[in-house]
Assembly symmetry: C2
DNA sequence: TTCGTTGTTCGTCGAATATCGAACAAGCTA
DNA sequence: TAGCTTGTTCGATATTCGACGAACAACGAA
């Protein structure tokens, strides 16, 4: 579990962010994180193998969409909403609104018990 | 030169549109078309082979981002801004603003003489 | 130290993408 | 009809992506 790299705000790449946000599962993850709360990795439920989920979270992290904090053997994920808003104003809001209206990424949700 | 398929407004897929807009060259094409004017294919200049340009225009068209009209042996392209705004409000505006600020897709431009 | 938990990384696979040049097709034009 | 122009389509490559299971690494607990 090497320490993950997070691009600085000024390093965010628009095409990279757009690409990260072009997958339904990743859009679902962003939706789940949209309320700004920090979520535990294990709290995230998606219909894919955990290695696949790890991959998608890495794509989001590498693009600068999310931030991962490590605590012991656990990880916590947050949406870098302010950073994204600074660099690409309105983009995430528009995406979330559209995704919500369309039900994109609805396969992703949180563990019932708040696990 | 078969007649191209254009998805209806209600058929636009958010992930597909996001994917179409995740390539610098395609973002550049959208920027060039952002003023709403219809542009001739031959007017578009990009640092790629014409078959590659044709491919990118097809990706945009298939995703519903642009509309292609054929007139004789020539093609004219427009941005489907209203359709996109209807389905994904604010998305294209946010993208254009960010791309403009970042200079994304600046390799694409119009032929000097308006060809 | 020995487990058990928690994510990451690795190796692999098939599908998709970006790119090019060449060949092609559809209309004009001579 | 014979060219010319204009894009599209067709291979051919090279690369990337999404997915999986298995192996691994880091840490806490027993």
């Amino acid at each position: 579990m090497r320490r993950a790299h997070h691009p600085a705000t000024e390093e965010l790449s628009l095409p990279e962010v757009m690409a990260a946000l072009s997958d339904p599962l990743r859009i679902g993850l962003v939706r789940v994180l949209a309320d700004g709360a920090e979520r535990g990795w294990g709290e995230l439920r998606a219909p894919v193998a955990k290695s696949t989920l790890s991959h998608h979270l890495r794509v989001l992290r590498d693009a600068g969409v999310t931030r991962t904090r490590q605590e012991g053997t656990r990880c916590f994920v947050t949406l870098r909403r302010q950073d994204l808003q600074t660099r690409f104003p309105g983009l995430v809001e528009a995406l979330l609104a559209a995704a919500g209206a369309e039900g994109v990424g609805s396969g992703v949700h949180l563990a019932p018990g708040g696990n």
